[in-house]
Symmetry: C2
Subunit: 231 residues, 2 copies
């Protein structure tokens, strides 16, 4: 690894695994950050650990935060996760899997860690193409966050640093993300993207996240290596 530290938000899903691989490929010394945030299952944290081990990180921290206190999302257990039969059924409305202000909260913790490490670079695996219309996955949001972050920190006062929020997948389709990750050697069988896994940890195959993922692999003529693997 290089000498320049970067903080990477790592959920254990396909996108964040690819973002971590990009950060490594660009030569950063990587500090991976995951959250135990009252999600229904810990399968994705196990995936985050596997991905961090496989791709290689300087340190992997899992921060405890309780988003259940506010409610209002299917991913924190308040609402039902929507399921669909076919990728064509994915809607244009913001679904109940949206967690209010989630990326804003996650980036804020990444910012705190970056400042403590003296890091100027934060990676987040959002994308604005094959996604569920979440407001906090759009380029204008990331740009506004970066501007705020530079005013929020010592760097913004002392003028000796410039924080960058890297969103290397933001303009890529799911298929293009998978191609990029494969070119960087990402083993997608280690990742987990499902919003509503079986008790065994297996992906449900019918939530928005599973459908986007399935469609991405299908467009490349590939099978999803995680579909058959245990979670």
């Amino acid at each position: 690894m290089g000498d320049t530290p970067a903080v990477i938000l790592l959920s254990g899903g396909l996108d964040s695994a690819t973002a971590l691989a990009v950060a490594r490929h660009e030569g950063f010394r990587t500090y991976a950050l995951s959250f135990r945030y009252g999600q229904r299952h810990e399968v994705e944290l196990a995936a985050a650990r596997r991905v961090a081990d496989a791709i290689g990180v300087e340190r992997h921290v899992i921060a405890d935060i309780d988003l259940r206190v506010f409610g209002g999302s299917a991913l924190t257990g308040d609402l039902a996760v929507p399921h669909h039969d076919r990728p064509e059924d994915l809607g244009n409305q913001i679904p109940d899997t949206y967690v209010p202000a989630r990326n804003t909260i996650f980036l804020s913790f990444a910012l705190a860690w970056a400042e403590t490490l003296g890091a100027e670079d934060i990676f987040i695996g959002v994308n604005a193409m094959d996604y569920s219309g979440y407001p906090d996955c759009r380029p204008e949001y990331i740009a506004a966050y970066e501007q705020m972050a530079n005013l929020a920190t010592k760097a913004g006062v002392l003028g000796n640093q410039h924080l960058r929020i890297h969103a290397p997948l933001i303009a890529l389709s799911k298929a293009a993300i998978i191609e990029l990750g494969r070119s960087l050697g990402v083993d997608y069988s280690l990742t987990h993207s499902c919003y509503d896994p079986e008790p065994s940890g297996a992906a449900c195959g019918t939530c928005d996240s599973c459908l986007f993922r399935r469609r991405g692999f299908a467009e490349l003529g590939l099978d999803d290596p995680a579909a058959a693997a245990p979670g």
Copy 2:
């Protein structure tokens, strides 16, 4: 209370108690948010509860987050809290009591709760006059946060809401804040501002926060009612 909900960040200190009183005075239905964030003592959470009870809130939530995982601040136990003999000794440098990205994290949780409540208003008791030079207490930071917040949320996509970050104390001296709070009936004997209280809960009297507070009351020819009271 009025019908319009607002989220208020409430630490239990002098400033946030005043900000809560301002929100009540402006007719908001108030939702107070405090954090158990690995601070050295829980004295300030007890003060937050007293203040919320006295001024009146619809609900008071204490969210658990662990900022110790990153380290780097005197307020999370990693560094020593600086003490001074006299208010004149307060420096111009950002002190070790700065918690990296703290207000950014706190506002992000407030944003999540506001979105869940359907609230468009968030109050934070920062001030840029008698403060310790923290970057996340400046008006340009608050303005950038508000801009980001409007892109981060469903409101920013649907266009039917506009989030406002209210910082009613930002341009006031400590003495002016105390005058404002007294005019609104705030009982400052309930508040707690000290960074490094005695085991009994009593304020130390010599940290930056105690000195700013003491100087504010002195400028008004008043004694600090919390100085003699048990924490």
